[in-house]
């Protein structure tokens, strides 16, 4: 058990060390000559207007995020189901259960579709 999950930690550690090492190498070699014009956000050469990270973006991205949560959780429920599907004793029963579950979510998808949540204009 330990040896099947320890490699994740080792890998993350090695990757982080390598990344920080590369950043340090670049810190040693690179020139540094900042001035205000160079450091301003790129806006086609014009003076930048206002802040970008004030949260002004289309609400549609938020709707997509909510839809994603609904359907991604659905796929998470499908994973254990997919693993035990072929165990013959229960299979027909759990298959029918999953058909009901998918049907409910399909209704959700159709609702979102009809309401225009999937349209980008």
């Amino acid at each position: 058990m330990l040896f099947s999950y320890l490699p994740i930690l080792v890998m993350i550690g090695i990757a982080t060390v390598m990344a920080i090492g590369a950043l340090f190498m670049s810190f040693v070699f690179r020139p540094s000559n900042p001035y205000r014009e160079k450091l301003s956000p790129w806006e086609c050469g014009m003076e930048p207007v206002g802040d970008a990270n004030t949260g002004h973006f289309r609400v549609h991205f938020f709707i997509i995020a909510i839809l994603f949560i609904v359907f991604d959780v659905e796929t998470l429920f499908l994973f254990p189901w997919a693993v035990i599907l072929s165990e013959k004793a229960l299979s027909a029963f759990i298959f029918v259960e999953m058909v009901v579950f998918i049907a409910i979510l399909a209704v959700g998808l159709i609702y979102a579709w009809v309401k225009g949540a999937l349209e980008w204009v």
């Binding site: 040896f3 099947s4 999950y5 320890l6 490699p7 994740i8 080792v10 890998m11 993350i12 090695i14 990757a15 982080t16 390598m18 990344a19 920080i20 590369a22 950043l23 190498m25 670049s26 070699f29 690179r30 020139p31 540094s32 000559n33 205000r36 160079k38 450091l39 301003s40 956000p41 790129w42 930048p48 802040d51 970008a52 990270n53 973006f57 991205f61 997509i64 995020a65 839809l67 994603f68 991604d72 796929t75 499908l78 994973f79 997919a82 693993v83 035990i84 599907l85 072929s86 027909a92 298959f95 999953m98 058909v99 998918i102 399909a106 998808l109 999937l118 349209e119 980008w120 204009v121």
Partner: protein, 344 residues
């Protein structure tokens, strides 16, 4: 006090992880050269030519240039997140490879020791890979947000919306494969496709090719390759979420992107093309790892080929494909696969 075999195994894990990480770190060097060369030949030009024979030293020149570039942090940026975002994009891309098997055991001649060609065969392997590659979205959206530039913000939002939309299609395709293999472990998934080419999941008719189709389209969109490279839509977004990045941090985003392409190629091979299994029995002693590498190389070439052949989708078309075509198709295909598994 742990015994010697445990310590040995621990050392082996560190050595293997180090080797895989070094290979992944160096992989963009040949891949960028290859990509530019393929682009050149597809467009009837030479591609990189001047730095070294056939431009072979070009990637090294690029690397040195990226290393020596001035690091620009916009004065309006969120300094901490701006530095963390490239790391958040890159580290999960490496971590994915902790679960990827490159082959079964090989016997080391002389030492009489069986070396496993994977870091770990965890029982939730494919779920772990989906989770880790999903983490890469944080790098994109934080990078876009922390730059405090309008182009970066819009690029980051678009990328994340695109990635999460297609994540669902990819998850469904993976579920299809899990239904065929009855296991989440990648080694078991490959073992279930043992034998000749007819046992590969792509040839589990009629649903196998449909799953592959969904997986390929979904993952192409998830790794932001053409025809779904909207995040790097130069015409409308400058460079998308990494507009403000330069030097090594920019290189990390590129590195993550190339590793993601390799990951997807590896996954396509493991899930649908039988992993390290030979397509048919050949009397020659070809090691399984060769088949694995050859198939992965083919998919990497396929992605580059597509990049210089197809034009880009519009954003509304992209969302339509993800939500209105791939998702209903996956739902129907889950039921079809279930019926086939139960009654065939």
């Amino acid at each position: 006090m742990p015994d010697t075999s445990t310590i040995l195994e621990f050392i082996l894990i560190i050595v293997k992880a180090w080797v895989i990480a070094m290979v992944l770190f160096g992989l963009p060097l040949p891949l960028t050269w290859l990509e530019r060369k393929i682009a050149g030949h597809i467009q009837v030009r030479l591609g990189p030519w001047r730095v070294g024979p056939h431009g072979l030293l070009q990637p090294f020149a690029d690397m040195i240039k990226l290393l020596m570039k001035e690091d620009i942090v916009p004065y309006k940026a969120d300094k901490l997140l701006f530095v963390i975002a490239p790391l958040l994009a890159m580290v999960p891309a490496f971590a994915v490879f902790a679960a990827i098997p490159f082959g079964e055991k090989v016997l080391i001649p002389g030492l009489d020791y069986e070396l496993t060609l994977y870091l770990s065969d965890m029982n939730v392997g494919i779920l772990y890979i989906l989770a880790m590659s999903g983490l890469g979205i944080y790098g994109v959206i934080l990078g876009g947000w922390a730059s405090n530039s309008k182009y970066s913000l819009l690029g980051g939002l678009r990328s994340s919306a695109q990635m999460i939309s297609y994540e669902i299609a990819v998850s469904f395709a993976v579920i299809g494969v899990v239904m065929l293999a009855n296991s989440l472990s990648l080694v078991d998934i490959v073992r279930a496709q043992g034998g000749n080419i007819l046992h590969w999941n792509i040839l589990y008719l009629p649903v196998g090719p449909v799953w592959f189709f969904i997986f390929m389209i979904g993952s192409t969109a998830e790794i932001n390759r053409v025809p779904f490279d909207l995040p790097e839509d130069e015409g409308t977004l400058a460079a998308g979420f990494h507009t403000e990045y330069s030097g090594m941090k920019f290189a990390f985003f590129m590195l993550a992107e190339y590793i993601a392409m390799v990951t997807v190629s590896v996954l396509a091979v493991i899930l649908f093309f039988g992993g390290w299994n030979a397509p048919f029995s050949i009397p020659l002693p070809i090691p399984p790892i060769f088949w694995f590498m050859a198939k992965v190389a083919f998919f990497i070439y396929l992605f580059m080929w597509i990049r210089f052949t197809l034009p880009r989708y519009r954003y509304d078309q992209l969302m339509n494909i993800g939500w209105k075509i791939l998702l209903p198709l996956s739902l129907v295909n889950v039921l079809a696969t279930g019926l086939m598994r139960l009654y065939l």
